[in-house]
Amino acid sequence: MVDVSQHELVPEHTVLDDPDRVDEVLAEYNVSKTNLPKIKSSDPALPEDAEVGDVIEIVRDSRTTEQATVYRLVVE
């Protein structure tokens, strides 16, 4: 099986496992978790240990800026 998450076109997905970091992110954007964009828990780009309810940090190359950081909430 090909591990999609290792493909060069798939950006880095990391679980924010520190609750303080999650709170920080939520505070920065003044949102609740559910107002973040979503990602399905079945998404092959997710790391193994991602669980429903986790917040994922994705750092990807951008056409308009060097790197763009986005956050997503893992849902069923």
């Binding site: 954007y29 559910t34 107002n35 973040l36 964009p37 800026t65 763009a68 986005v70 956050y71």
Partner: protein
Amino acid sequence: MSMQTPKEIGGIQFGLMDPETYRDMSATKVITADTYDDDGYPIDMGLMDPRLGVIDPGLECRTCGQHSGSCNGHFGHIELAAPVIHVGFTKLIRRLLRSTCRECGRLALTEEERDEYSEKLIRAEELGNDPNDVLKSAVRQARKQSYCPFPDCDGVMHDIKHEKPTTYYEVQDVLAGDYSERIAEAMQPDPDDEDGEGTSPRDLAEAVGVELERINDIMAGEFRPKSDTRKKLEKVLDVDLTEEDMNKLMPSDIRDWFEDIPDEDIEVLGIDPARSRPEWMILTVLPVPPVTARPSITLDNGQRSEDDLTHKLVDIIRINQRFMENREAGAPQLIIEDLWELLQYHVTTFVDNEISGTPPARHRSGRPLKTLSQRLKGKEGRFRGSLSGKRVNFSARTVISPDPTLSLNEVGVPDRVAKEMTQTLNVTERNVDEARQYVANGPEGHPGANYVRRPDGRRLKVTEKNCEELATKVEEGWEVNRHLVDGDIVIFNRQPSLHRMSIMAHEVVVMPYKTFRLNTTVCPPYNADFDGDEMNMHALQNEEARAEARVLMRVQEQILSPRFGENIIGAIQDHISGTYLLTHDNPHFTETQALDLLRATSVDELPPADGEEDGEPYWTGRTVFSELLPDDLNLEFRSSAGDTVEIVDGQLVSGTIDEDAVGAFGGEIVDTLTKVYSETRARVFINEVAALAMRAIMHFGFSLGIDDESIPPAANEQVDDAIGNAYERIDELIERYEADELESLPGRTIDETLEMKIMQTLGKARDSAGEIAEEHFDEDNPAVIMARSGARGSMLNLTQMAGCVGQQAVRGERINRGYEDRTLSHYQPNDLSAEAHGFVENSYRGGLTPREFFFHAMGGREGLVDTAVRTSKSGYLQRRLINALSELESQYDGTVRDTSDTIVQFEYGEDGTSPVKVSSNDDNPIDVEGIADRVIEAEFDSDVEKERFLGGREPPTNLSEYAGPGLNKAQGMEVESDD
């Protein structure tokens, strides 16, 4: 006159309405189906009862005491003789019937399941998913139950059958009528089994555990076995003794059932029990809409014509009454049920007359009635037709035509339009004389006035007769609706409005004749041409709208397109040919000629001459062009013609000014002026370039004739040779193919390889024909000038006209369709040659042969079909995109969110910048260096300059071209940079 204070809507709640609320809000009970009596007075407690509001002017409302116009009308009500189902809720009713127990009314879910679905519902709402999906799965789960899960009830859960639109059946398994025959048949010996003996009644009685006598009675059809006996019989004999029985649920049964459903259970199904009870979906009271919602009209012959809703209400009341009378008279159940169904039909069609499976209620003329649903639904309905889109006043539409003397900010408005559309002038002590003059000019004179409004609110029409007299009465505090005059701001639009620049604000210039006039440089943003295009104009009606239009919507504010971040307004077509002629060969002009070129610009003094020729001073084209540039402009870029354009200190040193310099869609100079200087400077520049280019092209003269596409006979022979060569090579290819000597390309069959090689050879032949033709065109050939400068057309168009049209294609292949094994009956079957498959060796100028013409039409048709399909497809795609993105908004914190505050982008465009506010070039997405250079330059300037820089000067964008100070200021900025 007392006006109601405006109220603010805090929120809207949707739910079911309590029948008691219907009664409470009702102004009267309606019991008579009649409307007016013989004297034309509305009948009391009839459908036109004066308590329901007034429509006739002069009458007083019996409920609120107001007159028609101020009284909004009041609801009445009809007490229905029997409950009926509301068609709008049939799906929800079905869901409730299927998921609750008839015996106890409780939701047939266990405690755990109930909690699970409650939680899922909350989660779905949080995540913005569709709660309906959860509800559906909850119902599906509850429906699986065949018995009520509560031990204290244990009622049977029958399946519910829904017969559209409003009939529900309980499906029960009951003993079949022919049960005795079925038993007897099952007791016969199995015909496939030779040793089979069948079942004797004695065996059966033993197996079932019933007395033999009873079994005999059953087999004789004299006794109907009870359900437990029946089940045992079925088990022993392996036979089905039941049939489905449909027990119709009357609306009253459903209502009783729903009354038993506890509040907690409704909540699981997503209904708020505090506001809505499910039994309210079964109507016992029908609200009667106010007369103002269904006004009757008086026809010319004095007859009254009633609204469709009134007709429907008449039907309902009639049936309602007959129902009651019959019931009181003790009519048979059958008749009662028929009347009940009829009542249901009328109430159903009153709500929605387009239910599938139900014949629509019709008017006497046969036209289907327009009832409640039909008023709301569809394109012409209340939502799409009256709320989202309305017809508006103060708008005009006519054909457009070009006027190069206008500024791109302006629009020429026909005087007859200007006299129809008005602007409100509030009369003050400072404009009272002006206002009186407008009124004195009357409605026919321009600029005149159509109406005045006195301080007491009275509106008076200005007529030719009263205008002189009325003018003397105009005082401070009056309002005068004056005609549009030069300098007024209006909104201008061309459909389809595909982007922001399809609606822009223009300043009015009142003109004679009947068309709207616009500067040709605004054609690209509107995608307009003058082959009969029409455009719409809207006159703005309040100061706020006018200010916003001026600051945000004026054409010059739209020079940069948010689509690609460069200018979309600039020189087009002949403008570009003009600047090309002016600058490419850098021709010399005498003083008179130079002044004539610049006469339509604001330049009224020539710079020092470039030199002398025959004792006369001369000016070069580039010098003349440089007069339009700001004096501190420095630029270097490649032109479309291929040379390097160099601008040093506002002087065009070398290069050709063409599409890449001044054109719409990213002309370098226009783009830089807009971004670095100001929109106003760019507007002035575009206007002047267009004017200069028109003078230039008229100076040189520019025309295109048939001879401009011809090449010498020698060149023609060369072209023929090139094509002949290609034919030979193709013949070789075909020979090798037929001899099976052709090697196939990787991943292709031999046939495909041959096709590809032939296409390639012919493509090369056309190209070389084009090259030969190109060599023989003069540099000053008008078609060449247009192609090189980017004004219009391409070299390909030219080679097709002069050299060879080339291969015609359908679906990217040579033409292969038509007859069996050949394209036309003129060819041998399986002829693979170029000419048999649509190669046109002639040029457009030389003329096509009939067969070539036919092939050309085949290819041409594909082009037409493609464009037709593409426009409709892309239009729909655009609509869907707009609908999907319309509610996204960039927030103050830089994020992009939808209406429920869900983040779509963490930073707008990921870089948080607007494409029109960013300066860029090809190497760097953002021209940081350029910006830094300019900042540093500003640092080194004098202190005064620096202070002004730090103080931040706002570009004077909101100034009219007609306002003297505005023009001065815009020019003032240039004067300052001069020294």
